[in-house]
């Protein structure tokens, strides 16, 4: 990972090539290939258990933490296969951040939640600079106004929606390029959900976002591209169709996509 392919003409942020993922002997994902465009929001949709989270987690090697998990294929990020033997997952995760389904702030202060990532990653700077980094990350997650007076309070004292935005701010602080979000709004009320969606639109200018969602409206109104996954006869997840959100929702090529989108499926 010493040299990156900093070729801005390449509009793909990250690309999966023939990814198959196994849990023990069970093949959960079968030969998925898709290229995610830079500075765009890509939504993964599909019925429960079809491997959306599994694919998403393979993008920053979170699957390595499941002892039984095994992958085949490549994830290409900046011209480098993330599963090459010399790649350290620790660095991958710093470049490709993640926001989880259930908000999981550390039981530390709001400030410490944000400072954690930079600190472990060898960040160097003054106290004032850290203050600024914290503020900038919180602003980036549209949380600054809510919490600016209580930075020393526990992250757990926030509301569910605020906690999730704190987790996003935390992910921003390590200055990633890609942010993976696994159903970030599934535990939130409609207002908080809307806030997060607005936030995603803002973030899109600087980050590439991949989001898993069960909410069709969310996928259709908040994403640029949509990938539809489905289980095959052996219960392995496959990519059925991938295109612009506009096309997937209004002009699906595959019959199964159409059925799923119109709610006649799964």
């Amino acid at each position: 990972m010493t040299t990156y392919d900093i070729d801005s003409s390449n509009a793909n942020a990250i690309e999966a090539r023939d990814m198959s993922i196994y849990y023990g002997a069970f093949r959960a994902v079968n030969k998925v290939s898709l290229a995610i465009e830079k500075n765009k929001i890509t939504a993964f949709i599909g019925p429960s258990g079809c491997g959306k989270s599994t694919v998403l987690r393979s993008f920053n090697r979170m699957n390595d933490l499941v002892p039984t998990a095994r992958t085949e294929g490549e994830i290409v990020f900046r011209g480098k296969n993330l599963y090459a033997p010399d790649v350290d997952p620790v660095e991958v995760r710093r470049r490709i951040g993640m926001v989880f389904q259930k908000a999981n702030p550390f039981p530390k202060s709001i400030y410490e939640n944000i400072a954690y990532g930079p600190r472990i990653n060898g960040w160097r700077g003054t106290k004032a600079e850290m203050d600024e980094l914290v503020e900038r990350s919180l602003r980036g997650a549209a949380l600054w106004d809510d919490v600016k007076d209580k930075l020393q309070q526990s992250g757990l004292s926030l509301s569910g929606g605020q906690q999730q935005r704190l987790c996003i701010a935390r992910a921003l602080a390590t200055q990633p390029e890609v942010i993976l979000m696994d159903e970030p709004c599934s535990a939130l009320d409609p207002i908080s959900t809307l806030k997060i969606e607005e936030l995603m639109f803002e973030l899109r200018q600087r980050y590439t976002i991949i989001i898993v969602t069960h909410n069709m409206q969310q996928a259709s109104r908040a994403s640029d591209y949509t990938a539809f996954f489905l289980m095959n006869s052996e219960r392995a997840g496959e990519l059925v169709e991938y295109g612009t959100t506009e096309q997937i929702f209004h002009n699906p090529k595959d019959e199964r996509t159409e059925q799923y989108i119109s709610g006649r499926f799964g």
């Binding site: 350290d88 660095e91 472990i120 600079e129 850290m130 980094l133």
Partner: protein, 430 residues
């Protein structure tokens, strides 16, 4: 981060490592991680090595070479033959020849010589005629690795001594009673004492413990103040040091309830003493029962709590009463786990020493305990008193007694595992 995604108006705040610095940074962190992983793993190795050392130390002390020396040469009195080869009549003859009238009368009073078997006679000849004495003991490791040095030392200091192998843990050790001579001492009395105390303890503590657990889990309303008190109280009792239970036993069972625990109330005289004495198996068992009750109750509660509610509802749905549900549905389901807790508690009672020092286990006793009102000793107490002796040979028989104790506990725990598996396999899975 690459230049393209930094907004040019924004001043960078601090620096995250980039380029080659990233590799360095991560390599350093991973190295530190590996080192600490090694340190954490070492802690586990330390624990296991400690366990191994402890076992080896005990085994090392309970086998090895011994040097014995006799006042009279065996060959002299037997005419060159081995004692073991002589007939019973010949042995009696040797005794009659070599012992004074006074000693013979005493021996005959204990049991007429003619009625004794050969083995017993050989033993009597060894102690009374040959006066065989243990002069040195060597642990196993030393015996194996430094045999030559040992031989040299022994012949130098005790010219007439004989060197031989001895396994201190043997059938004789288990079946002979206590003796003030380490060489002849055994743990028979202590094993019987341990069995008596443990059985009585279990008899008292198990039903009470299970019933209390049932009450707390199935009947008690935990919002009511007295049930809260009972629960908190049990949790606190589990943390009271065992020696304090000993003080309770001493003050209540040994002294206040002396008429009962000594057996006088029931017309049983306790262990030959002229005065009343509450220092009996019964007192010990009551003390131990109180000690292990909290353990049984707490593990029992956990076991009962783990029974799914759907089973209870199924039973109530068929019109069963509460007790019918508890007895027929909940208890069988929870039984394997309850059993595990019980065995855990009972093996604690087997190994517990401190309370019995207070309750007054005898340190020297040769008669077998014959009932709840007997005086008694137990294995741990025996180990304690022997370890305290300054002489090496007592330390060695302490080690032998430890081997016996550990085997007893291993046996108990193995039974527990087998029983639990048996009941688990019979239980209908939910």
């Amino acid at each position: 981060m690459s230049a393209e995604s930094i907004n040019p108006e924004e001043r960078s705040v601090g620096v995250l490592p980039e380029g080659p610095a990233v590799k360095q940074n991560i390599a350093r962190r991973q190295l530190i991680g590996q080192i600490w992983r090694g340190i954490f793993f070492f802690a586990i190795v330390f624990g296991l090595v400690a366990l191994l050392t402890l076992i080896l130390d005990v085994v090392n002390d309970s086998f090895g070479l011994i040097a014995t020396q006799s006042e009279v040469d065996e060959q002299e009195i037997t005419g060159g033959r081995e004692l073991e080869d002589l007939s019973q009549a010949e042995l009696v003859a040797i005794l009659n020849e070599n012992l004074s009238r006074r000693v013979l009368t005493r021996l005959n009073r204990e049991q007429p010589l003619e009625e004794r078997d050969a083995a017993n006679l050989v033993e009597v000849i060894e102690t009374e005629v040959l006066k065989t004495e243990l002069v040195a003991v060597f642990p196993l490791w030393e015996s194996l690795t430094q045999r030559a040095a040992i031989e040299e030392r022994v012949t130098e200091r005790f010219p007439r001594a004989e060197l031989s192998w001895k396994a201190w843990v043997n059938w004789d050790f288990i079946t002979t009673p206590m003796s003030s001579v380490a060489f002849n001492a055994g743990v028979r009395t202590a094993i019987l004492g341990t069995l008596w105390v443990t059985m009585l303890t279990a008899l008292i503590a198990i039903p009470v413990g299970i019933f209390a657990a049932i009450y707390l889990e199935e009947y008690a309303d935990h919002r009511v103040w007295y049930n809260k008190i009972i629960q908190t109280n049990i949790n606190n009792l589990a943390g009271v040091p065992s020696i304090i239970y000993g003080m309770l036993g001493l003050a209540i069972f040994v002294r206040v309830l002396e008429p009962f625990t000594s057996g006088a109330f029931f017309g049983v005289s306790s262990g030959g003493g002229a005065t009343l004495n509450g220092r009996t198996i019964l007192s010990a068992a009551f003390t131990m029962a109180l000690l292990i009750l909290p353990v049984i109750i707490i593990t029992g509660q956990e076991a009962i709590r783990a029974v799914p509610n759907s089973l209870r509802q199924g039973s109530y749905g068929l019109g069963a009463t509460k007790w019918q549900t508890v007895w027929n549905i909940v208890l069988p389901q929870a039984f394997p786990s309850i059993l595990t807790g019980i065995i855990l508690a009972v093996s604690r009672a087997v190994g517990e020493t401190a309370p019995l020092i207070l309750v007054g286990a005898s340190t020297f006793i040769v008669t077998d305990p014959n009932g709840p009102f007997s005086k008694f000793t137990v294995l741990p107490i025996q180990i304690y008193t022997w370890t305290q002796q300054p002489e090496q040979e007592f330390k060695i028989i302490a080690a032998a007694a430890i081997v016996v104790l550990l085997i007893v506990m291993l046996f108990l725990n193995a039974t527990a595992v087998l029983l639990r598996n048996y009941f688990r396999s019979k239980r209908v899975s939910v």
